[in-house]
């Protein structure tokens, strides 16, 4: 017979405002309801207004943990990737969002936590400690991360170089990384545009890569970054 095992919420002893910004935040019933409602709204919007098409959904692993990455051209990107996720995985999905944009004020942090289920990455101090915490949450959660390795949105629609931070999260672990390419997001919602244009979008999901052999060091991170950048580029150029 197993003993009863209690597992208090990871953010149990944080004040409400701290909890919103914490990597240990866990959603309960209320956040579950708001996130599901938000998800339904966003899916309807993306499929109707942007006629979103998703290809390669079969490449998504059946269960967490895994990481979904893509090129980053608009604020719609994370919504597109999250909405592509199957219903049964919805509660494990965490978009990794810039702390200085999505968690700066309490009101915005509340939205990011209750609707998007986003976790913050603080760009000014994303040292190895922060990456280690993200790695723990990913594996122990187990969680699904949506992450944009360019680190920022493209200003001209072209794909930027990938940053090696992602390597620190997955190097030497069996966690699969799913490369994706999103087409049409820049035209639909370029930086500075207030209202997205009703232009079509297409998401291509590629086969997952794993980096269990890659060393958790500078060389390993760089190798991971190069391979993932190549995978996303290949999806862009249509030669899967």
């Amino acid at each position: 017979m197993d003993e009863w095992r209690y597992q208090p919420a990871g953010d149990l002893h944080l004040k409400p405002t701290e909890s919103l910004r914490s990597l240990h935040r866990e959603a309960g019933l209320i956040a579950g309801i708001t996130q599901t409602a938000w998800r339904a709204l966003v899916r309807t919007y993306l499929r109707g207004y942007h006629r979103l098409r998703v290809e390669g959904i079969e490449h998504l692993p059946a269960k967490p943990p895994f990481v979904m990455i893509a090129n980053h051209a608009s604020h719609l990107d994370a919504l597109v990737l999250a909405s592509a996720m199957p219903w049964r995985l919805r509660r494990s999905v965490f978009p990794i969002a810039a702390g200085d944009v999505f968690f700066e004020t309490p009101a915005v942090a509340l939205f990011s936590a209750m609707m998007l289920n986003a976790l913050p990455m603080w760009r000014k101090r994303c040292g190895s400690h922060a990456m280690q915490e993200l790695r723990e949450r990913l594996i122990e959660g187990p969680s699904i991360y949506i992450l944009f390795p360019e680190g920022t949105r493209s200003r001209d629609g072209s794909m930027g170089r990938f940053k090696p931070g992602l390597g620190m999260i997955v190097a030497g672990s069996p966690v699969p990384v799913v490369p994706c390419h999103l087409e049409g997001a820049f035209a639909a919602s370029p930086p500075g545009a207030r209202i997205p244009r009703p232009l079509p979008m297409r998401l291509r999901i590629g086969p997952a890569l794993t980096f269990a052999e890659a060393g958790n060091d500078r060389t390993g991170w760089q190798e991971i970054t190069t391979r993932l950048e190549a995978a996303v580029t290949a999806l862009r150029d249509g030669s899967r």
Binding site: Y6, P8, A9, L12, H13, P16, G28, L29
Partner: protein, 323 residues
Amino acid sequence: MTFLGIHPIALAITAGIAGALLITPAIFITLEKAGKLSPALRADLWTRYKSWLILAPLMILPLLAGRVPAVVGVAVLAALCYREFARATGLFREHLVSALVSVGGLLLSFAILDNWLGFFDALESLIVSLIVIFSLFSDQPKGYIQRVALGVLAFMLFGVSLGHFSYLANDRLGPPLQISILLCVELNDVFAYCTGKTFGRRKLSPNTSPNKTIGGALGAMVLTTALFATLVHFILRDTPIDQPIHLITLGVLLSLTGQWGDLVMSSIKRDLGIKDMAATIPGHGGLLDRFDSLIFVGPALFHYLFYFGGITLDTPARVFTGH
């Protein structure tokens, strides 16, 4: 001698609490000038004081404002207590159980507002059955007993038990009774602490709550009983309850159930290996750390008063569903 239709005892207690909150800073400052406060203690006292400044009106004003605000106020308190319990035990990850406990709580509140005691009683067994049955449908036997048991316990503690406290609002004399209960339950803790410091030698329950002493428990029982019996004597004058034997029994019941509630929550926290249930109220921990003693007072006093005719629930029965 009523003001805005508020019972004089309710008014007197409110004025007393307001007065105490007003003079507390003066006491702190005097103690500080006399050099009796270490910086850490001083900071702690002020944090606690500021929390009370917000908490006390939030507790008392809905009870004074009438039947509906009183029921809604207790329902909000119960929901927040459930949230803390669920997050501390891990039950919050079971959204279905949480949803059933929440729906159960809403239905209980409706039954109270409707003054429909039959439905209130029926919900106790019906919601428990629903929690036990609906948890089958996920087809995950692993952890089934724990899930269901935590859900049932939470519903009983925060739905049904706190619901009894709330149900008192359906009596004409509900508000002064509820405010007296709140005051005495909180003072019961204070009395136990103070008399424990003075007379306490033998530990009451060293494994559950090592700071409590038998002296403190007895001291609190004597003082709380005296205070609560006096208050009830003035509130329930001319009712069958207004006899020494009943008044003393009520006081002892309140003190005992209050202390037991405290011990129950200590026991739960020990089992979970946590110190506070949450960080909701600065200086106090979670709401549950503050209101644990209230949980069992409701059912004990409600049924005692109702059985012996102290309260008659004279709000029209089935306000909404009646014909």
